[in-house]
Amino acid sequence: MATKYELKSKEIWDGNTAASHALRQAQVDVVAAYPITPSTPIVQNYASFLADGYVDGEFVMVESEHSAMSACVGAASAGGRVATATSSQGYALMVEVLYQASGMRLPIVMTVVNRALASPLNIHGDHGDLYLGRDAGWIHLMANNPQEAYDMTLCAFKVAENKSVRLPVTTNQDGFLVSHTAQVVEPLDDDTAYKFIGDYTPMNPMLDTSNPATYGAQTEEEWHFEFKASQHKALIDSAKVIEEVFNEFEKLTGRKYNLVESYKLEDAEIALAVMGSAYETAMVAVDKARVEGIKVGLVMPRSFRPFPYNEIASKLKNVKAIAALDRSCPMGAMGALYNEISGALSANGQAAIMTNYIYGLGGRDTTAEHILEVIKETNENAKAGKRVTDLQGFINLRGPKLSFN
């Protein structure tokens, strides 16, 4: 029996510590991980918890991230609660197995600390890895601060393991800006947190030898489409379960999360869409802009996948111009947030002037002043009633102004 960890009602935790405590409280059966900056402390803390008797489980040391996720797939199909953590290059190496995990419908939870992808090599935060895993069939939840990193990780288990979902989930926090920034976190005590998540119910576990099952079957043209379609439906429908879990979490903690988060959007004429730690920076910028008389609001999909199309469109019903801020270089296209939001609006017959901004690559600082500049540019579009700024701009980039039309 695992020893209880004494927690104060308020702890000073960074995002990594918060995530590792959530993993501990979930009493994960198997963690197979290959530590990588900036998510190393999650794995390191978890290993210490295990060594000190705070967890009953197995920590599997592996030789690469590909093996880490493979071991997770093995343990999850055997019938255990499984979690891991990674970032950037490790995430990239895992990608092949990410598709296996979601295709086999294994509810693995991965606490991702977002970091830029090489080359050039960079250890700091951007959403390159999140966007890489976008179509892998995982649920992606966003956390903007250590408290949310803790809360989202607890919720992730409950969402993943729901009988109608049974899909793997990542919780995402920005490298260093969240993962290494200590803030006040209000944790649940061990019993309450575990009770919230509940006992793990295995489905078709391979260790049940009286009911042998085949995992990872081959399906050619007469079956593959049906399996993928049913997996896609589960992912789309998981939005409802995410909302239910968020509601239950609110009852327990008083902290309310939504599929689409927004800030001062009720009377807004223009809006910014942004995910991650920059959302909180943007809140400061919105307050400043409102002092100057610009009616601006913020919107953020809490779940990047499933993408809440209709919810985001209805939130943006009354805005005239929207700037989508993507923290990943889309390389030859517009950013993902720009694409998804544009699609969501046109599907609902709405027309706002859309622009795209790329910011914060490789951990580049993005301040409230920078975002205020974006708000002012977007306001120009709203005032003119047509797009007068460039389609895609770059925030806080050195050199002559770079933009695309």
């Binding site: 419908r105 085949t214 079957a217 997996q231």
Partner: protein, 136 residues
């Protein structure tokens, strides 16, 4: 390998995650219709294993190693009064000709050998290598 029409189901009825159970009714060991026993892979073969009962020592290595459970066994009682699995033949519908059984067969002259698909089994047994006479 075409799926028989009556086995085709729609996206809303398939087993999620392509996790296929062996038995529809585990208590009575009723095989699921998706069990690989219902599929014939004979046409994958180029060569087939032929089994020579006269040389077999019933070590059951072939039965253990066969990836498709092709080996047919009979339960017998051996000289010491213990139950034993006696290998009696090969199910050629399930055998895809991988040759693992021949590889693991431990008898001095193999009791399993690969032969071309068009050689009849009786003919194959006649061609079986003979024990070389010891030279003085």
């Amino acid at each position: 390998m075409a799926t028989p029409k009556e086995m085709m189901t729609t996206w809303d009825k398939i087993q999620f995650g392509a996790v296929l159970p062996s038995f529809e009714d585990p208590a009575n060991k009723v095989r699921s219709k998706f069990n690989s026993y219902n599929y014939k892979v004979a046409d994958w073969r180029v060569e087939k294993p032929v089994f020579n009962r006269n040389l077999c020592i019933d070590c059951d290595f072939c039965w253990v190693f066969c990836p498709d459970s092709c080996f047919e066994v009979e339960e017998v009682v051996n000289k010491r009064g213990k139950k034993q699995a006696k290998i009696v033949g090969i199910n050629y519908d399930l055998c895809k000709g991988c040759g693992v059984c021949v590889e693991v067969c431990p008898t001095p002259i193999k009791s399993l050998l690969m032969f071309s698909e068009f050689v009849e089994n009786d003919e194959a047994l006649k061609q079986w290598p003979k024990k070389e006479d010891k030279k003085d």
